[in-house]
Amino acid sequence: MHIMEGFLPIEHAVGWSVAAAPFVAWGIRSVNRRIRENPEQRMLLGVAAAFTFVLSALKLPSVTGSCSHPTGTGLGAVLFGPAAMAPIGAVVLLFQALLLAHGGLTTLGANIFSMAVVGPFAAYGIFALARRLKASLAVSVFLAASLADLLTYVTTSVQLAWAFPDPVGGFGASFLKFAGIFALTQIPLAISEGLLTVVICNALARFNPQELQDLGVAPAPEVRA
């Protein structure tokens, strides 16, 4: 989902940066407030950030014969709400843009928007919906994390198709081509991300039942079971 440095026309680069900035600001405020009110949640917030660090560094092979990586934003969104992941995702993307030439500064806004805004908001919404439909914690977390991962890559495809419409087929044809590269490759990886997020949630539910309960993620009886 990393759009390479310089590979968005300048007006798109500026537009996506403007679109992403308020979410990052909102996220910083929400994280600061949370740490002020519940200092004991700082470590768990670190875990959410660390999870994104690990997962976005893992380039996994896929059935399409190319490699891509999960995003790891679903966990933090489920635990801390969607806004918290915007600054965290921004830090990861900045690290990769500056040190790894992976993504870029001019495309940072667009990449933050797909990975750290659309993904977390999707995860949060899907998790809430699945819980309301009485799905178990594990199933809800799986759906939230894997669909958020997939939607991040669909967003990247939309961004690129918008910037580079096909000369014949326009936006639609271009979107299908980019989605063929990104979204298709991502399907098994999204499943992996969902499974890994369930693994870490299981560990948290086992060793930190009180914290999950405080965060409103899981009611006491289910975690204890």
Binding site: E5, P61, V63
Partner: protein, 123 residues
Amino acid sequence: MKRHQNLLLLIAVVLLAALPLWLVERPLGPDGQPAEIFGGADSEAQALITRIAPDYQPWFQPLLEPASGEIASLLFALQAALGAGFIGYYLGCARTREKLRREQRRGEAAARREDEDQEGPAC
């Protein structure tokens, strides 16, 4: 039970990552030689951009580029190691804390039973 479930989930992730290596056949390039496989989707998208818009010129270059593929994988490994190290530290702490809590509870319960036993014969 939960630990069992996690083990199965991790095996599933490993299979999901390993099966493509097995299943996908190396395509032949235009020259009939086996072509590159398992390149990054990001660079494939970049190639597609240059096909859709051949005249497009990237207007900004990365400030710093890893000197080689090895250096890049060093940095990616570092990124993953930092994250995994922190998660491991946290889960280790949480596990020990939960264990101590349980032992404390058990200790309190045992002390209570002892008190009751001692009070028993006196009555």
